[in-house]
């Protein structure tokens, strides 16, 4: 391969023509592609689709945030969208709301499944472990929207499960409008899905625990290591890959999640109390047809996600070993 290239290179120099050199290069590349044609044909549909429908919209979105775009009109406005955004009180309010939800959602997303995985992992009977693994997945059988609508019934003012339980226990005296009262609505959004231990996360943690060699556990047991110590000094460091996965995808997910707003609160109560930037963007685009401004919000969230992801990487220790 190398000698061939050298030969062609020297041949070209002899002829003194750069054109021929490039022709030869193209020919080589062509031969290479022909040799691996099966591979290129096999990835073509995927790559074509991804470039057109996934990558191009990303570039388009970045670009769009510098334009004023409505249904028909489109004109370049430079950084106007961003400067307007920085002065937009509703945007900052929505950022603050998101911040509150964000912190708890990311934390819960990492910790709750980990606790459940540790609990199940501690069960000695393999048969029971299997039963629990299946049960934990069960919430998946209800579509997410159904899950949310069921929680709407749980939070209902009149005869909702949540109020009934809290009244029975004596925590509250009278019914609370969990989704309609500004004082409680953020708590309700965070609490939704309690005890948050369902789904695939538990299984992903468990697969990590099973990958830890049994000898390590055995050695720690012989050294008289308590379960809690084992969890902190052996499990957690060795599960770093999984924790980082949940951290990064938890951050990305929490930054852009506004499904509760769309399905349950509509941004209210008081019209704006549960606005998050994602929901603001959605409203801007599909209610106000202000696509440029919406794209600018999207761009800001995207940049935030990028910064947070990098910080999360730094925070969780050394560079990735392998995916």
């Amino acid at each position: 391969m190398e000698t061939q290239e050298n030969q062609t290179a020297s041949a070209c120099i002899r002829k003194g023509s750069r054109m021929n050199f490039f022709k030869q290069k193209v020919k080589d590349a062509g031969r290479m592609i022909w040799k691996y044609r099966a591979g290129y044909i096999m990835v073509a549909p995927l790559m074509f689709g991804l470039i057109l429908f996934s990558f191009y919209p990303f570039v388009y979105g970045l670009g769009l945030s510098f334009f004023d775009k409505t249904d028909k009109l489109m004109s370049f406005t430079g950084f106007d969208n961003f400067t307007e955004l920085m002065r937009d009180a509703l945007f900052w309010k929505s950022m603050a709301t998101m911040g509150k939800i964000f912190f708890f959602k990311v934390l819960i997303g990492i910790v709750a499944p980990l606790i459940m995985a540790e609990l199940i992992f501690g069960v000695r009977s393999d048969k029971m472990q299997n039963v629990y693994r299946i049960l934990v997945l069960f919430p998946m059988i209800a579509p997410g929207v159904v899950g949310m609508l069921i929680w709407k019934q749980i939070y209902a003012v009149d005869g909702g499960v949540f109020n009934e339980i809290l009244k029975a226990v004596g925590v509250i005296g009278k019914d609370i409008d969990w989704l309609g009262d500004s004082k409680y609505v953020l708590f309700s959004i965070i609490f939704l899905g309690f005890p948050w231990v369902g789904g695939t996360s538990v299984l992903i943690y468990m697969s990590g625990m099973m990958a830890i060699s049994g000898e390590v556990f055995e050695a720690s047991r012989l050294d008289g290591c308590t379960t809690l110590r084992r969890i902190f000094y052996i499990d957690l460091p060795l599960l770093r890959g999984q924790i980082r996965y949940f951290l990064v995808f938890g951050i990305i997910g929490a930054l852009q999640d506004y499904s509760v707003q769309v399905v349950l609160t509509g941004g209210g109560p008081n019209q704006f109390d549960t606005y998050v930037p994602g929901y603001y963007m959605y409203k801007m685009a599909f209610t106000n047809n202000n696509f440029g401004y919406a794209a600018a919000i999207g761009t800001v969230i995207f940049l935030l996600a990028g910064v947070f992801t990098v910080i999360a990487y730094k925070f969780t220790g050394e560079k990735k070993e392998d995916m």
Binding site: M32, Y36, A38, G39, M42, P45, L46, G49, L50, F53, F55, Y56, P57, F58, G61, L64, M116, L119, G122, V123, R124, M128, I134, L137, F138, P139, M140, A142, P143, G144, V145, V146, L149, I150, K152, I154, P195, V197, G198, L203, M206, S207, G208, M210, A211, G241, Q242, R244, Y245, I252, V262, V263, G278, M281, A285, F286, F291, G298, F302, M323
Partner: protein, 279 residues
Amino acid sequence: MRTFRLRKKTVLQIILQLIIWILIFILLFPLLFTVWNAFKTHYEYTMDMWLPSLPIRFSNLGVAFGYIKGYVFNTILVAVVGCVGMLIISSVASYAIARIRFPGSKFCFGFVLMLMMMPGIITLVPQFLLYKALGLFDNFWALIFPIYTNGSLMSVFLFVTFFRGLPAEIFEAADIDGADTAIKYLKIALPLSMPILGTATIIQIVSIWNDYLWQQVIMTEPYTIAAGLIEVFNNNREFDTKIPVVYSGYLIASSPLIVLFVAANKYYIQGLVGSAIKM
């Protein structure tokens, strides 16, 4: 001494399992609540929502089904057309990336990983404008193409990691027997990847069942089940006095997922546990 320690361990195990059962009970309570209240009259529901009661009124199911049957069939159609295409596109491409190792295969995989990390929030608006510009607004294919593209990402990730992990010897043996790429893919890689197929299918179907946002912006009327449920039950005061019918509707909407889950949970769990997802 020894028996004492043994007994202490057994007690600990019992306590542990008890805690797990309590957590699972709370976790599943909303689902159980839905199931038993789906079969009551509204009066029975208001009297006692906490426990199952007799008689079981199957008629609720019929009433609810009447409202949402169109959405259920639409969703099944989207799921079948979407998943079959997505699985073919992603598994074929993954095989090439993982086992043919053509120049650029690493780039392709990197591209997929990059898109996986891309927040959907930045692409929602431009994707909407793109599909609209392509004349796909309010079009069936506007629901399918995202499955073939964005939906393929996770599946490619799972397939590539899995195909890379297969021992090279199998493929070398096939090479000696003169098998070409198509045969190696169809006869060796694909049959071995059943757990991944199961996992990818479940993830995709669940996301189709969940999709509310995209189809709400790209279709003029609710088409699949998530938007259908909200349209019928959530924006409709009429059901305030027929709440068990609403629960019946939720139950029907979940039933295809229940069937899928019962059929494929073994593969799904295998696939997830075996894939070693981490970063």
